[in-house]
Structure formats: structure tokens, C-alpha cells
């Protein structure tokens, strides 16, 4: 065990898996000599060489498309988008080529696409998005979103080992802010939800950076017993864990940093509304970023991102319901 930041844990997972499996390569813009915009692959090129740590041209469709080609002939490419927002430029290759391949012709596409996502530091409209729901809406793509250092490493390894395209949502605002004990060596984190805190009176369903917002908001909420469920995986979605928790608490608050409409939180709400109707003692409440590009200026950005205070307020309302 070692204490690592979320960012170090991502690097560690990648590095260990590259040591363990010659087929694993990383590719992306400025990830080689420079070590990546966020330094996730710092030092990799020295250890693994330029064939396995590939600086690519500035071409996201190219990154995803060539990764698919490399995957079907036996490699296990891990692609980095410099920011998750740029996946819009590689969207077609991901949803149409990678996502539909196995269903169409039984050919597996084991690629991992690293998507540094999320806001909170004045990244503005093009460096703050949480685009996971686009891929939840696109069949054939798995989506994971770690919130802790331990899961960041374990999910990285599981994502690489998974024989399907996996979008690995890494929240930039957790990179250096979140630290934790991380097991040594190789381990796989399953694509299932995790109870981040047990509770009996209210369930908060969330993932990624919002797990920490939810925990902080309900750490000491007038003594209420609040369960926080960290989804970890969005595709597959652990509906069993969600429903089990809701059955226990009868009240649910969903906290999602993405733009509200048709986001992961909407899907979770829909699942609960259909399958836990009898168990609910209050409305399925959603907190999310309104449908607005993420503004740059701090007061504006803070006004749109879900905050500890908003979560507190909504939780109190539901508890009192």
C-alpha cells in the first residue's frame, strides 16, 4: 500500500499493466516526451519506448480510429484525449466503428479511451465537459468513472483488460486534490457500484467528483444517516445496487456534474421511477449542472456546478419530506 493522488494512481495502473502486458500501448497528443498535458504518462516513453508510448498528430478521429485498427490485430491501445471535450472530434470512430463492431461481426475492440473531464477550475466551455452520457446513449461502449485513487488504478486495469471499448472518465478536479491508499501491484476493480458511506434514511446516487461533494455535504447533516452510492461504472449500470439502496432508504437524491438533460442522472432516475416505485417515500430528486456550456469566470462556474450547499439543501428537503 502506498498513498497516492488520484492522478498517480491512474499512472500507476497504466504503468503496471504496460509492464504486465506487452500488448498495451498508450497513444495521444503530447503524451510521450512531454508526458501528457496532465503528466499522467510522465516518464513512460523512457521506460517503454516510442512504439508503446506514441506521440500522435493532433487528430482525435485518427487516435481513436488507428487504436481500433491496432486493437483488432492484437494490441491493447489506451488513447488519451487531451481533454474529454475533444472526443467530439473522434466521436464517429468511437460510436460507429468501435461501439458497433462486436455486435455486427463478433470482432472485439479492446481499446480504452482516457477522458480527462469535469469542471471546477475555470476551464471554460471547452475544457470542463462531462460527456459520459453521449456514450451511455451509444450501444457497445462501456463507461467507467472512478472517484478514489484506489478505484482509479483498479478501474484503469479493468478497463484495459476488458475486451470492449471503454471510456475511462477521469475527473481533472480530482487529479491532485484526492489522495488515498492504493494497493500495490495489479488488481482489478469490478464495473459495479460501491457504497461510499452506509446509511439508512436517504440514498445519494452519484459518481466521479460528485462523490466527494456528496460525502462532504452529508458528513454531518443534522445527524441524518445518509448512504452515498458511488456508481463507478455507468455502463454497465449497477441497477441492482441502486435499487437495493433505495429499497433500504426509500428516498433518493441523484447528484451528477454533467448537464442535466439526458445525463447519467436522468437514467438513474428513470430506473428508480420504474423499478422502485413502491419503495419511494419522496420524489426522485436530481441535482445536476443546468443545460449551459460551463462558463469560464469563477462566479459563473460556481453558480452552475453542483455545490456542497445545494446537495445539503436538497438532502435536508428530502429527509424532511
Amino acid at each position: 500500500m502506498a498513498t497516492m493522488t488520484y492522478l498517480q494512481a491512474i499512472s500507476d495502473g497504466l504503468r503496471q499493466e504496460m509492464r504486465a502486458d506487452q500488448r498495451v500501448m498508450v497513444m495521444g497528443e503530447d503524451i510521450g516526451v512531454f508526458g501528457g498535458a496532465f503528466k499522467v504518462t510522465d516518464g513512460f516513453i523512457a521506460e517503454f519506448g516510442p512504439d508503446r508510448v506514441m506521440d500522435t498528430p493532433l487528430a482525435e478521429s485518427g487516435i481513436v480510429g488507428t487504436a481500433i485498427g491496432a486493437a483488432v490485430v492484437g494490441l491493447r491501445p489506451v488513447c488519451e484525449m487531451q481533454f474529454s471535450d475533444f472526443i467530439a472530434c473522434g466521436f464517429d470512430q468511437l460510436v460507429n466503428v468501435a461501439g458497433k463492431m462486436h455486435y455486427r461481426q463478433g470482432l472485439a475492440v479492446p481499446i480504452t479511451v482516457r477522458l480527462p473531464s469535469g469542471g471546477g477550475f475555470s476551464g471554460g466551455p471547452f475544457h470542463s465537459q462531462n460527456p459520459e452520457a453521449w456514450f451511455m446513449q451509444s450501444p457497445g461502449i462501456k463507461v467507467v468513472a472512478p472517484s478514489t485513487a484506489e478505484d482509479a488504478k483498479g478501474l484503469m486495469i479493468s478497463a484495459i483488460r476488458d475486451p470492449n471499448p471503454v471510456c475511462y472518465m477521469e475527473h481533472k478536479h480530482l487529479y491532485r486534490r484526492i489522495k488515498g491508499e492504493v494497493p500495490d501491484g495489479i488488481y482489478e476493480t469490478p464495473f459495479t457500484a460501491r457504497v461510499a458511506r452506509e446509511g439508512t434514511e436517504l440514498t445519494i446516487v452519484t459518481y466521479g467528483a460528485m462523490v466527494h461533494t456528496a460525502l462532504e455535504a452529508t458528513e454531518d447533516l443534522d445527524g441524518a444517516s445518509v448512504e452515498v452510492l458511488d456508481l463507478r461504472s455507468l455502463v454497465p449500470l449497477d441497477t441492482e445496487a441502486i435499487l437495493a439502496s433505495v429499497r433500504k432508504t426509500s428516498k433518493v437524491l441523484i447528484v451528477d456534474e454533467a448537464n442535466r438533460t439526458c445525463a447519467a442522472g436522468a437514467e438513474v432516475a428513470a430506473v428508480i421511477a420504474e423499478h422502485a416505485f413502491e419503495d419511494l417515500d419522496g420524489p426522485v430528486t436530481r441535482i445536476a449542472t443546468p443545460d449551459v456550456p460551463i462558463p469560464f469566470s469563477p462566479p459563473l462556474e460556481q453558480a452552475v456546478l453542483p455545490s456542497v450547499d445545494r446537495v445539503k439543501e436538497a438532502a435536508r428537503e428530502l429527509l424532511a419530506y
Binding site: T56, V64, G65, A70, M101, Q105, P139
Partner: protein, 352 residues
């Protein structure tokens, strides 16, 4: 740049050095098979047995047959919608192709995908997606993997004239060029993209652009299977020698409508007539007749094979609706990767 946009350096006429008499017969066989299967499929379409739409490569048989014939079993391909002969040469049976068109369980995609959107992973092919020319990048990625692993293999894909307008074309060209990858790009210039003539697609023929990416581009008579073979054979040698990509323009003509529903009113009659004179199958037949090959017997053989395949394909059941949602994800942690094709050119047999 202009100097490289030329025919590849080949002696005129059939290349006796590289193609045996048997090879040349095989080239004809696969072109005949392609045409025969597509004609049969069109009949089945008219009978309502082929769902959706139907696309064919009538008149373009030499492009896929000649090119694919030069690819080794360990090479990998992304085959386009007018390149049926390539599937056949790699080893896909006519039965499975006809079953594919009809959406049967016995088709390559087991009814999951339709008509020409297939590839048989067992013989080293990735089925095209509809979005053109996405497969350029997939082929480039295969070549990237070969080079990264120091393997002596190459990748090949075709693409249409119209699809060169899209961004992925450029990303692939640039990527392959800057990394000097063992990949062969075949521009299937059949004069139209759906209804759009070349003049509305580009101001400069894309083959002229190859040099602007740092690799050679050659124009080849796309209705001459042997010329196609020779151009690709040379491109493959360059690729394996570490000399990077090659682009080959196969100059040809789409003789049918874009798809079954298209009457191609927008194509001048004279243009079609002119190209009819250059039919690639008749051309190869004339050569073989000169060599004393019994072309009629070959035709009969091919027809019999297609008849039998049709029967068999019609026996294949429709897929079970209960399975409709299966297979979206792969559940095998160590799934098969692409397999090898069948060696067809005698040059590979000698080598083996």
C-alpha cells in the same frame, strides 16, 4: 509531385514474371464470381428476399480482385462496398455472402448488419461501416501495430472518390505518411459519389495529393485486374521494405446506380457506353482465350457454384429474434483477433 502521379513502373501488358497462367485464370474466376453473385443478389432483391437496399460493383470487379490477389494471408484488409471479389479471394464462401445479403443466420454478420457492411474476421478483414471513409484510419492503425511490433505485414483498404472529401481521409493519409506505415490505400475512382460528379468533389484528383503526404501515388487502369495486381504487389513490397504507404488510383466507372433504387439519370449515356467497352471481365477473358483457356467452362463452373450457393443460402434460417440483443459486448477476456486469409497468388505458395 506530378512525376509520381503516374502509372507504376510496369512493362505494358500482362506481367508474365509474377502471374502464372493459373493465377490469371483465378483472377478471372473471382471477377466472374463477384459479378455472378451480385447479379444473383439483385434478382433475390427484386424477389423481396434481400431486405433494405442493395449495392453492387458491376464493372469494377478488377479493382478488388487484382488488389486483393496481391495480399498475403498475414496481411489485413478493410474491404469496401464495391469490392466483393476481395472477400471471395480472402476465403469467404459465396453461400455466406448470399446469406448475408438476405439477412440470414448463415451470413457473415448473422443478420446483424446488412448487404455490403461485413468483413470476416477469420480471414483478416474488418467489415466497413457506412461512414465513409472511416476504414482508412482502421487500416492505418493495423499498419501502425505491424510497424510497432516489427512485423513484416501490411494493411490495405479501398475508398471511393467522394469519400476523399471527408476529414478522416486526411487524418489517415497524414498519419500514414508521417509515420511511414506499411499501408496501401486504393482510391476507387468510379467517377461519381452517388449523384455527385468528380468536379463537385475536388479541384485536384486525390491521387495527386499522395505526394503532399510524403508518399507516392499512382494511377492505374482499374479495369485491368493484372495491372491492379502488379501495382499492389509493388506497393506491398515497398511497405514491407519499410518505405511506407502507397496510394493507387484505380480509374474505373460505376456502371450501375448508386444502389438498387437509383436509375442514374444524372450520368450521361455516352459515358456509360464508353466504359462498357472497357469491361474488366471481357478484357481478362480475351487475354485468357488467347492463352487457350476454356473460358466458357470457367463460366459454367462459376455459375454452378453460385447456383449451389444460392440454394444453400436459402436454406439458412432467419436469425432467432430471441438473440437480437446478444453480442453487443464481448464477454471473452481474450477474444480472437483477426485471422489469416487464404493464399491465392502463386507467389505466396512458392514462398511457403
Amino acid at each position: 509531385m506530378a512525376t509520381e502521379t503516374a502509372r507504376p513502373p510496369v512493362a505494358e501488358g500482362p506481367d508474365a514474371q509474377h502471374l502464372t497462367r493459373d493465377d490469371r485464370v483465378e483472377l478471372l474466376r473471382y471477377m466472374l464470381l463477384m459479378r455472378g453473385i451480385e447479379e444473383r443478389a439483385m434478382n433475390l432483391y427484386r424477389q423481396g428476399k434481400v431486405p433494405g437496399s442493395f449495392y453492387d460493383g458491376y464493372g469494377q470487379e478488377a479493382v478488388s480482385a487484382g488488389a486483393c490477389f496481391a495480399m498475403a494471408p498475414e496481411d489485413r484488409l478493410c474491404i469496401l462496398h464495391r469490392d466483393l471479389a476481395a472477400h471471395l479471394i480472402r476465403g469467404v464462401t459465396p453461400t455466406r455472402i448470399l446469406a448475408q445479403y438476405m439477412g440470414r443466420e448463415g451470413g457473415i454478420t448473422r443478420g446483424r448488419d446488412g448487404n455490403v457492411h461485413f468483413g470476416d474476421k477469420e480471414v483478416g478483414c474488418v467489415g466497413m461501416v457506412s461512414m465513409l471513409p472511416d476504414m482508412m484510419l482502421v487500416a492505418t492503425g493495423m499498419a501502425m501495430a505491424f510497424k510497432a511490433q516489427g512485423q513484416q505485414r501490411c494493411a490495405l483498404t479501398w475508398f471511393g472518390d467522394g469519400s476523399t472529401s471527408r476529414g478522416d481521409w486526411h487524418e489517415a493519409m497524414n498519419w500514414a505518411g508521417v509515420q511511414r506505415l506499411p499501408v496501401i490505400f486504393i482510391l476507387e475512382n468510379n467517377q461519381y459519389a452517388y449523384s455527385t460528379p468528380l468536379s463537385q468533389q475536388f479541384a485536384v484528383n486525390p491521387v495527386e495529393r499522395a505526394a503532399a503526404y510524403g508518399f507516392p501515388g499512382f494511377a492505374v487502369d482499374g479495369n485491368d485486374a493484372e495491372a491492379m495486381f502488379e501495382a499492389v504487389r509493388q506497393a506491398r513490397e515497398r511497405a514491407l521494405a519499410g518505405d511506407g504507404p502507397t496510394m493507387i488510383e484505380a480509374v474505373t466507372m460505376r456502371m450501375h446506380g448508386h444502389a438498387a433504387h437509383d436509375d442514374m439519370k444524372y450520368v450521361p449515356k455516352e459515358q456509360v457506353e464508353e466504359w462498357r467497352q472497357k469491361d474488366p471481365i471481357e478484357r481478362q477473358e480475351r487475354r485468357l482465350v488467347e492463352l487457350g483457356v476454356d473460358v466458357d467452362a470457367l463460366r459454367a463452373e462459376v455459375k454452378a457454384a453460385i447456383d449451389a450457393a444460392t440454394e444453400e443460402a436459402l436454406q439458412s434460417p432467419m436469425p432467432d429474434p430471441a438473440t437480437a440483443t446478444e453480442g453487443v459486448f464481448c464477454t471473452d477476456p481474450e477474444p480472437d483477433i483477426l485471422g489469416d486469409g487464404v493464399p491465392r497468388w502463386s507467389g505466396f505458395l512458392k514462398g511457403a
